[in-house]
């Protein structure tokens, strides 16, 4: 590639003499392409396996039924993967997930209060879309309030924000524990079943709404991928390179809040899974660029969730434990990162 003769400026004297050489910044490297193609194939394989493995009975019944579950897994996987990668970029930190900032705890509190206030029978009569809507609005409202309070004013520290989020998480958890003590034991059993992430009985209407919200949010985040790359350098560099840091971070955090709220309201709290796929993504992507890490994380999430569910549900006949398994793996990654980080310093 020859240098453009129109180049002028500080670096212009050598611009014309620069030798051609390997480019690492522009075109995707061969490794990136390989990883992406491999993951797409793996994800498709996992989806196919989930749809057809051990299928008994009529396809007319099996395919729509399994298709719906598959879609739920994919929507949640994408939401968790994208929200975690973006959140970690914004906080310049690889062991935090948005859920650690009290989202899960808030979900538990909402559920506990609902069971206490309405009773499980009345609660079951509330239309599912209404429940979903209330949950999303409360969680999004709380996160927005938190973000604007801590990040909208003069003092803007992301670390303070994260810390306050964690403290609120503890507060919500304690409140939930208190509320749960007031609930009668039968009702408590109902509550518990609502608190585990479950990919089983997902309402088709909610699934459709969530899929649209997640798709639109992810598409918007994708359009900001180059700005996200710059934010990886930290606040000072981003500002020096012309990013409106406060505005960028606020809007991106809101998108993260939306993704997490929708996915939590859809299937329940998932704390460590995002950590697992985000860190796996950084490991295999071989690039810092979000044009690579975002799709790789989404594909990994689909492979793990759908593949895991295919194995557990169809081969081991233990379909309900997927959330436990992915949380367990994610928890191990969390501990490994803590240990590695501690040793690195």
């Amino acid at each position: 590639m020859s240098a453009d003769p129109s180049v002028r400026g500080l670096t212009s004297t050598a611009a014309t003499s620069a030798a051609p050489q390997a480019r690492t910044g522009a075109a995707p490297s061969r490794r990136t392409t390989l990883v992406l193609v491999g993951l797409v194939l793996l994800a498709l394989g996992a989806c196919a396996a989930y749809l057809v493995l051990e299928a008994r009975g009529s396809w007319d019944f099996v395919l729509p039924f399994r298709g719906r579950r598959l879609a739920a897994l994919a929507v949640v996987g994408a939401a968790v993967a994208v929200s975690t990668v973006v959140f970690q970029t914004l906080t310049e930190n690889r062991i935090l997930t948005p859920s650690i900032m009290g989202f899960d705890a808030l979900f538990v509190l909402i559920q506990s209060l609902a069971v206490l206030g309405l009773g499980s029978i009345a609660l079951n009569q509330v239309p599912v879309p209404l429940q979903f809507g209330v949950e999303v609005v409360v969680m999004l409202g709380a996160s927005t309030a938190l973000f604007f309070w801590l990040f909208g004013g003069a003092r803007r520290s992301l670390h303070l924000l994260v810390l306050v989020g964690v403290v609120f998480g503890v507060l919500f958890r304690s409140l939930s524990a208190l509320v749960q003590r007031l609930i009668d034991p039968n009702e408590f059993a109902v509550l518990q079943s609502r608190l585990f992430a479950s990919f089983g009985a997902v309402d088709p209407q909610l699934l459709a709404i969530s899929a649209v919200v997640v798709a639109v949010t992810c598409a918007w985040l994708w359009s900001r991928r180059r700005e996200l790359d710059v934010l990886l350098l930290g606040r000072a560099h981003a500002v020096a390179l012309g990013v409106d840091h406060r505005r960028a971070v606020l809007s991106l955090l809101l998108a993260v809040g939306l993704l997490v709220s929708v996915s939590t309201a859809l299937v329940g709290p998932i704390t460590f899974f995002g950590l697992l796929v985000a860190n796996l993504a950084y490991l295999v992507a071989g690039s810092h660029r979000h044009a690579v890490t975002l799709p790789v994380a989404v594909l990994l999430a689909v492979v793990v969730l759908v593949g895991g569910q295919a194995v557990l549900e169809h081969l081991l006949d233990a379909g309900t434990v997927l959330s436990v398994v992915v949380e367990f793996l994610g928890g191990i990654v969390f501990i490994a990162l803590l240990v590695a980080g501690g040793r690195g310093r």
Binding site: S6, V7, L10, T11, T13, A14, R23, G25, L232, L241
Partner: protein, 252 residues
């Protein structure tokens, strides 16, 4: 032109930049010197809108840095900070390419590539372009960060201690490069230095700070006197005339 108007910065009740007035004309090389904690980095960060001032304003070519859109300013002014720790693992080339973001928003054109190549070449990093930053020596890493600032190709270039970690040869190369940028390309280079001899040999103007205030400023000849240096550093420093240029013997 950079105009610093009554800029004040406090941390708690400590005033670290105290009502500073400073006008730096466009073109040329200006050095800022002064002891540790004098407020040099703080002032530079305020000029580069990395830090808000508590009072006063900074104008770059008449644009108030606090209110000018960030991307407009980023095509006019580039800054190297004293500390440049990154949490993300990047190659030298990736880092330098970020310098083109204000122009290309991350979509590198051939022109951008040429600027990146040129910046790498200028700092002797062409052979190290594919290395990760954590695989470099301190001085090589410092040069990579300077290359990123150069790739930004701006009218104003602010550098906070660019000679950190550099050996004699690279330090001189760096100063010569800044001199050329000012002379041949008409750039305005503002650089924080600790070696007053480098400052005197290469600058058009020297600004000396102490305790958050500008205590002396002027041509190198005006600064390089035992009296002026004493006012800045509280040290007795002999200044010798070596081949027609002032040389401060501050080692002994």
């Amino acid at each position: 032109m950079i105009e610093v108007r009554s800029v004040t910065k406090r941390y708690g009740r400590t005033v670290v930049v105290d009502d500073v007035e400073l006008t730096l004309p466009a073109g040329g090389l200006v050095s800022i010197i002064g002891p540790n904690g004098a407020g040099k980095s703080t002032l530079l960060s305020i000029v580069a809108r990395l830090l808000p001032a508590d009072a006063g304003s900074v104008l770059v070519d008449g644009h108030d840095v606090a209110s000018t859109p960030g991307d407009v300013l980023a095509r006019r002014l580039a800054v190297l900070r004293q500390e440049n720790h990154l949490t993300v693992r990047l190659t030298v080339r990736d880092l330098v390419a970020f310098g083109r973001y204000p122009h290309s928003r991350g979509r590198l054109t051939t022109t951008d590539e040429a600027h990146v190549d040129a910046a790498l070449e200028h700092l002797g990093l062409t052979d190290l372009a594919g290395r990760f930053l954590d695989q470099l020596s301190g001085g090589q890493r410092q040069r990579a960060h300077v290359a990123m600032v150069l790739a930004q190709d701006t009218e104003y270039v602010l550098l906070d201690e660019p000679l950190n970690n550099l050996d004699m040869k690279h330090a001189r190369q760096m100063m010569r490069m800044m001199r050329r940028a000012a002379d041949e390309l008409g750039r305005t280079v503002v650089v924080v230095l600790h070696d007053i001899n480098f400052a005197a040999a290469y600058s058009d103007r020297v600004v000396a700070m102490r305790d958050g205030a500008v205590v002396v400023q002027g041509t190198p000849a005006q600064i390089m006197t035992p009296e002026a240096l004493h006012a800045v550093y509280d040290m007795d420093i002999a200044v010798h005339d070596v081949a027609g240029a002032p040389l401060a013997a501050y080692y002994v």
